[in-house]
Symmetry: D2
Subunit: 286 residues, 4 copies
């Protein structure tokens, strides 16, 4: 009886003739059943991107042997590549401050099984959600952040993330700017939700900036964190309509609906290995 377990192969390499043929030939030779395949040729960058989902049980070998057998092809084409196994749940460490909306939203998705992840812990600079998180059986770590203790605080966050064997760190409206060192240590593994439609309204109080400018739509942006504030590769964005009757408080409230939806979509793309980063941009195979 066949299971639903999948391997997901993601790769990029300089574009040339024969990449798809080599990869799909390899899979066909070993009777691998492809359930989803996506390609993108970036003509300007001269680079090719590919993602393949394969039914694990149709292959005669496991992940280790796959990697060994595929390595020569990867080497021939100069591929930047990885493969993941759906049987191993990704470990998502959530960082939160005092706002409910993203935390409740992620927990509902995790509880229902729509997000098939492990949450090894939640880290916060406030005690606000200790009860809620612990009621769900998840460890909660309070790491206060003050103007004076930042290096120590972020070292503690990094230590907790490592001890939790986290795959990805999600800033679910964490409201703190991570240290450049922390950002640099986990490229493509820290996901933030910024409460504006970037590149508009970088930095603090974007809804108030939007109110002052009189824009007719506000937005949110899910992006990988880099050491430059709000400048990392964008994974997902969305907007919602507002008008003159909306005060800054209304924008904040509307914005929450967009923030949690955009974060959830961006995180899902990341977890399913649908996001390939190249330079400061992303290929997202939805």
């Amino acid at each position: 009886m066949s299971s639903n377990r999948r391997y997901t192969l993601s790769l990029s390499c300089p574009d040339r003739v024969g990449i798809v043929a080599a990869v799909s030939g390899f899979l066909a030779q070993h009777k691998g059943w492809i359930t989803e395949a996506s390609n993108h040729a970036d003509a300007e960058a001269g680079r090719f991107f590919m993602r393949q989902e394969i039914l694990a049980d149709t292959l005669p070998f496991g992940l280790g042997e796959f990697q060994a057998k595929f390595a020569p092809i990867a080497a021939e084409f100069g591929m930047d590549w990885s493969i993941s196994d759906s049987a191993r749940k990704k470990r998502v460490v959530i960082l939160v401050s005092k706002q409910e909306h993203c935390l409740y939203d992620l927990f509902a998705r995790w509880q229902s099984g729509d997000l098939d992840i492990d949450i090894p812990c939640v880290i916060s600079n406030h005690e606000t959600f200790r009860g809620f998180v612990e009621w769900h059986g998840i460890p909660f770590h309070h790491v206060p952040v003050t103007p004076d203790n930042k290096p120590a605080a972020y070292a503690k966050v990094e230590q907790l993330f490592n001890e939790a064997e986290g795959d990805v760190m999600v800033l679910a409206r964490y409201m703190q700017i991570l240290s450049p060192e922390l950002c640099a240590n986990y490229p493509g593994r820290i996901i933030n939700i910024h409460h504006s439609f970037l590149p508009s309204f970088v930095g603090a109080k974007p809804y108030h900036q939007a109110y002052t400018r009189g824009v007719k739509l506000i937005g949110a942006t899910c992006h990988y964190v880099t050491s430059e504030l709000d400048q990392g590769p964008i994974i997902e964005q969305d907007v919602i309509r507002v008008d003159h009757s909306d005060a800054p408080d209304d924008l904040v409230r509307y914005g929450k609906d967009i923030e949690k939806a955009v974060l959830a979509r961006g995180l899902r793309y990341h977890l399913e290995d649908r996001v390939l980063v190249h330079g400061n941009k992303t290929v997202v195979f939805r």
Copy 2:
């Protein structure tokens, strides 16, 4: 020192010259400060709709005296009218089945204060969410519904709603069809979220119906419940894009994001007295 307390006056009446003048004249005479005013003249129905928000403390009298003094104007114009006081929180009874998304979403909005309501209790036909609800300090009532016990079950629901002094009953993906009697007893006070863009895909398994038809957008509809299934006055709707690669399970998952957003918006409009029903349609003063 002025507070933020508001009275909200909602009315409709046959359209004629002088309605706005009479209402705004009355308010001005008593120095009532209007913070928001909306009007709609339905030319086809020959009916006029109005909503006024007034700063309570600018008036020299309370709600009872307002009602007494306004009654002659209401009588003169044949108004269907009501007035509410923001100082009195509305009491929202939530009915839920086994799906998390709407429940978690409503609770997050209530916890953050974005939904300024009381939740006197949650009623469910399953025990699934007893722990979650009770952890938040809200009474939870398990009222099983079986093919055989429906009259008794809905009588119990009605009794609980009345004991809770509920203002509005929210079917947050309750998945049960209320009895016609229950629907008829609370016109304009039972709000449902249907998981399709009505009038498409009435009834059961709308996402599967949508998949079979091959539509390119799926939606959700927040409406008042009437005794005719999925035919009540529509308060709010929205859609999300899907494509050929989405299986029915994907549609279900995407749909949840629309359902909870549409329910939350529709419920907010209702709670803020922004929805005026006329026949089987609504005027929604957003």
Copy 3:
């Protein structure tokens, strides 16, 4: 027999008790039938905005007498106000360069009667659309713009606009930056469509800027022109989803659909006196 002719009264003034009562009392006293009424109180600015549509034939007097009789009320409240008559079509001068999409779109709306305007002439810095415009019976003026002749060219544009007795100048992808003098001479009367979601991507080649940044939505902005490039009051905006597979040329092509739709909506709001400017922001009574 009653006609459909309307007067539209637009005003703003410092907020205080009694404005709506005074205006609606005046209209009711003269038996004016209100077909649409909109209000907005800007609490931060302490300013009140109002728009009233009245069936002209229900009033016992014409526009001149309306203005005379209303003047004392306007003076009492310190109103900034105007009144327009739907029987007088607004005169829209269109400026265009070499791109078809906005011009064809506006002409289709005008031909079908959806835009109930006069187009006294089209002005262009190229000869491209002379045939198309003249076939529709509209005068076409070619005013070349070169680095050397700008003052003379814009003086010519201004002269043509004045001779045409234009009410509003529409830059339908005109691709030239008007002189500060011209902008200053017609505040709130020159409408531009900018091909980005402002304030992102000000200036030249916004779609290429958007491509480089890797945004997931692109947009367009309809705004009043001021002497500061792309900084004027925003009337309307919208966005469209793009992804990694879209080259800059694709963004340009998608963008056209948004540009023409946003321009058409913004222009309609302006023509129906739905846009009230305050500072660098707009109130748009849709």
Copy 4:
């Protein structure tokens, strides 16, 4: 020097291991450079769909030899397949009635080169657009349709389409129901824009149906015409928000913006061989 000419290979077949390998292996063997590749496995139907764009000049042979060499692979996998050459412009016959919006929109796209097509003729049941069409250098055929002459009229339409060597017939708000015979003769080659979000509001006056039901969004649907009215495979849909203040005439006006945008997108997908029909559904490789 390499040109931009493309071959587009589209196919579907029963799903099994090795399809992608066979096709991409064939292309790689002949040094074909793939610029865009899309796949879809429909697990429920057990069918695989594929579209490949190849730079024509990288292959050592032309379309005829491609077809001959590829035939054995197609036979082996039981493929339903076709290949097209971007060097041959598709011939689009437009049918129109008395509404401007879709016609002007399609003509603007064709004039600008965004739609790289030939328009051999326009057919209408009215004379309304003869001048406009002929001014653009396109033949115009007036084929009146009356309750009595329908068989003859549609025979005439079919004859004109055949004489024009049309690839696709576009009903750009043609407002006439084609005969079942005509529909059956050109499966997947007649594209209609219906002015509702199907399956809601089939048939006549959908905007009035939408008004009566009180929906909060209206839509448009681009679909292939089959002999069952408004039941053919859906290519593209979209919606726009409306509210209580919108009369049926407003819905008609808003709807036009959606209709022309949805028709243009759907037509583009068809012209670029992005639409594969299976049963009554479409795979659209955007």
